[in-house]
Amino acid sequence: MADVYKDDFLYVGKDYKRRDGPEKAAGTATYAADITLPNSLFAKVMTCPWAHAKIKKMDTSKAEKLEGVVDILRFDDPRIKGKMLNSSWNHPFVAYLTENVEHLKEMLPDEGFYDGEELGVVILAESENICEEAMDLVEVEWEQLPFILDPEDALKDDAYVYFPGRKTMQGNGNEIDGCFFNMGDVEKAFRESDAVWTVPVAEPMINWVSAEMPTCSCTWESENLTIYAHSQVPYELGLFTADNLGIPQSKVKVISPFSGGTFGERSFVQHFNDQGIAYIAAMLSKQHGRPVKFYINRADQFRTGRSQCYMHGEIKIGANKDGKINAVSIKNFTSFQRAGLWITGSAYAGYDHFTDNTCVPNVKMEGRCAVTSQPPGWWFRCEQNIGCYNLNIVNSEVAHKFGLDPIDVAIKNNGYEGEDVDHLYKIAAEHGLPTTDSLKACIATGKKAFKWDEKLHADGAKKLPNGRYHGIGFVWDHAWNDNVNTITVGLALNQDGSVNIIGQRDDLGTNDRTSYSQLAAECIGIPYEMVNYRCTDTYLPMQLKNPGGSMGIISQSRGIMRAAKKLRAEIFAKAESLKVLNGIKADEMDLKEGYVFEAKNPSNRIHISEVAATCLPYAAQPWGVSCKGSIMVYDTNVTKRKWGYPDGGTRPRFARQCHFLEIEVDPDTGEIFMGDLVTVNDVGVVISPKSCKGQGYGGAMQGLGRAYSEEYIYDKTYGVLLNPDLQEYKIVTMLDFENAESYLEESHNCGGEWGCGGIGEDVATLIPCILTDAVRNALGVSITEQPITPDKILKALGKVK
């Protein structure tokens, strides 16, 4: 196992004591939810109690009389009436997601299109309890309107149309987006295949369940606004809020202290839960001259947004007995709801994991996305859930159909753009990149750690003495090895030679305070202990990017390297001007382990502090000795396309990942008991091994929840969410796994500096399908609709009709 890499790196690849560890463990790390500013007021918003309803009449008089209620902001109040979310938004952050931007949602409307939509009234009071009591006193007469929960139903000709006449709509008017793709000739390939069959697929709606709930506190000092927010994109939040308030962005500072889980949820800045609460809190704070804390409780956090749309559909597969997949034809229906903008990313393509990672030559996709009364969706750790799921359902189906080892099926079909793996690594070679077969390397490591060959048996063939069936499962995909973020990072040299990384970034829990310091130390050539990173506010508009979260290492490593080169040049120039080191020129110098030295004669050296100490004129400048560079990071020139779906392009990924799971299934009760779990990720280059592995098993825990226990459950008669709490929406616990281990491979073949890549997003995204594969091995039956709960197991076993 290439576990901890490196002889030639001094700091990268080593485990350092996690810098935010002690304060997080002791609970002294402060999160936005922990912050209640002195003299603060509290704000709470009403939510739509029905799937689709309009306020006919609202009486707030009783609430107004309640002691402790300070203000009541009704939807018909001139202060908010007509105010739109994203009112004059034109930032490229959204533009790169879609060209289909249309502004149409009021910040505080009188009509809700899904259970939980924020509307009606905001209560401002002296305490959270008073807010809740006042909200209970608001009397509303609702007009309940038609609703649809299933996207397929919403596409029917006679379906109720939510937003008639909108220009972005297709078909009957509910169809907001689609993903249509065709490569090769699937029909011909089906005719030529040994077997052709169709499987139903379904993925439930799920939620990020970030531990900290959406919240923000706003306070003004004269004309300057400070927002303490649980936000993954504080810079964008400041931009939106300034825009909504009509003040310069320079007057808004967003402080995102530690974040209690984000997973993409807190980058959903188009949503009321980010932009809306910040604007209303800021407005009310200004008016009342007191800080305002706006909070969303857990039930509303569930009801107002979700991280994966409900998807169902089917996949038709054509394959040969040797495991070669000839064709796949995918039909997916996904649900959509607007969050303030029509961002149609929720149709997230379901085909491209075939085109990007396999040699399957014939691929067809028909993905249709329709408006339903389910809350708006946004990325959860990654938006690729459906694509990963489709790829691995097919891999699993083919293996079990022909009695093959799913690992062999994976190796047989690994490739790129319909051609085999040689084609892929030929492209790598053309760009001077390594040509290691990453999938084979990951599989070798994983098989050994998991003892795959010892555990492998025919489907349904192993009943244990405890009466349960034993099964093992496998999934694979590419590594998350590319990224397209623009970042701006500064490296400021202090007079003692230590360096501050300047670049706001929300804490995602990925140990960036440690790993970015390692990166910077490596790039600059000073000891790790001399670098620090702790930017939490947006006053310095330098941004290490968060969307793309844990893949951020690709952007950040390149940005930090670029800045480090400039800093080193500054230091060498200064050293030259000081005439130290026997008066050598800047281009004869090197910097390593904190010493500036003559490259050809390392013993001729001085400590960096001796140079830095003379930098007072620079240090007096805003940046000190600083470097900054704004770069598009994905610049290896091997991509054929830009981000965005669907435009028919593909992108080669040279690194892979694969995972292994062992389970036991109780045929009497339908319960699943987890056994060994092994994750293997080719991350290119490991920066911080423990943190990297943490993303591996951590992602696996999240992924298992998606596969096994998590789902939104709606009442279909009323369209109301039945389980918006952590008792009934079940994320996995300490007892829902048995033994999890993470392994890392280093192919140096991802998009970051030295070929480093991400790991945070991919395991959680890829893992869910592994349970389907393992259940099939245990029981010999196919359950392709997740989550795999006892009812589905018992049904598949024929014990329930």
Binding site: D668, T669, E671, L722, K730, L735
Partner: protein, 320 residues
């Protein structure tokens, strides 16, 4: 949470007196883990106006063995039952049931009395702000019947309410033949439950359980719980079986009906027989004969019938 009047009586009589003087919307608070959630979510049609805490009444937190009975105070935390050596060795199904209830933290606060008297977890009943004003709250509809009843009743829609009793300790207490001792009377535990609004017991308003008495038990007993998760979860179905040294068999399952469901048909199958896998399966099959399905419009609860059969099989085999 709205505010309310709070009492900390120091005797049972004082508590009963407060309850009697406050006939409306006054609730007993034991560990608080149920009622606090009910109040935070504004679940009830009328908000509780007062809580009477039993926390400061001495003598309700004892476990002792005397006079041929194991006596467990109503306020004993579930964790103490789960970890009590006496209970673990002689009343295994009760210790196991307590250990599988909720989560470790909830077991530290949650009491045996509270666990047996808790309100149902029906997600229509529990929906915030009394949005589904159901039968149990004085309405005229059981929303589960037209909705998603995947966790609802498979035994008789008592008064047409499809909710189930979610207690994990209840089936163990039933098979161990526990007696309930209140400030007013003593009765068999199966008499405790019934359709009541909004709770689930037949206790009078000013009736307070002080302890449970379990006859000394020297046979074998077993408890099993199936849930979506392995912890922090209510049962989909749970069950217990106890076979006394003299051969008496009691089997009870829960989360299948409004009250814990005694499986007398299954008991008859097992009684006097040598326990084998096929006998255990037959017991489950017998118990399932009267079970009914709610189709609803979501996932049906039909799988719960098979699950119950599986659990009866397991708990019977566990008494082998």
């Amino acid at each position: 949470m709205k505010n309310f009047k709070q009492y900390y009586p120091t005797t049972v009589d004082e508590a009963a007196k407060i309850l009697k003087e406050n006939p409306n919307d006054t609730y007993i608070c034991a560990g608080g883990t149920d009622i606090i959630g009910v109040m935070k979510d504004f679940i009830l049609p009328t908000y509780p106006t007062a809580l009477v805490s039993l926390d400061r009444i001495p003598g309700l937190k004892e476990i002792k063995e005397e006079g041929g009975f194991l006596t467990i105070g109503a306020m004993v935390p579930l964790e103490d039952i789960a970890t009590n050596d006496l209970i673990k060795s002689k009343y295994a199904c009760l210790a196991e049931a307590a250990a599988r209830t909720a989560s470790p933290h909830l077991r530290e606060s949650g009491t045996i009395g509270g666990n047996l008297c808790q309100m149902t977890r029906c997600w229509y009943f529990r929906h915030n702000n009394d949005q589904f004003h159901c039968l149990r709250k004085g309405g005229d509809t059981c929303y589960a019947l037209t909705g998603d009843a995947r966790f609802h009743s498979i035994f008789g829609l008592t008064k047409m309410c499809a909710a189930v009793n979610p207690s994990d300790t209840a089936p163990a207490m039933v098979v161990l033949d526990a007696k309930v001792v209140t400030n007013k009377r003593e009765f068999g535990i199966e008499e405790l439950w019934g359709f009541a609004v909004p709770g689930s017991t037949k206790l009078e308003h000013d009736e307070i359980i002080t302890c449970f008495k379990i006859p000394a038990f020297s046979g074998k007993s077993c408890f099993y719980k199936a849930a979506i998760r392995k912890t922090i979860d209510f049962p989909i179905v749970n069950g217990a079986c106890a076979i006394t040294a003299s051969g008496d068999v009691k089997i009870c399952v829960n989360a299948v009906a409004l009250s814990p469901h005694r499986c007398k048909e299954a008991e008859a199958v097992v009684k006097g027989q040598t326990i084998t896998e096929s006998l255990a399966e037959k017991a489950g099959d017998e118990a399932a004969k009267k079970a009914t399905v709610i189709e609803g419009t979501g996932t049906t609860n039909e799988y719960k019938i098979q699950m119950m059969k599986g659990i009866i099989k397991k708990v019977v085999l566990g008494c082998k």
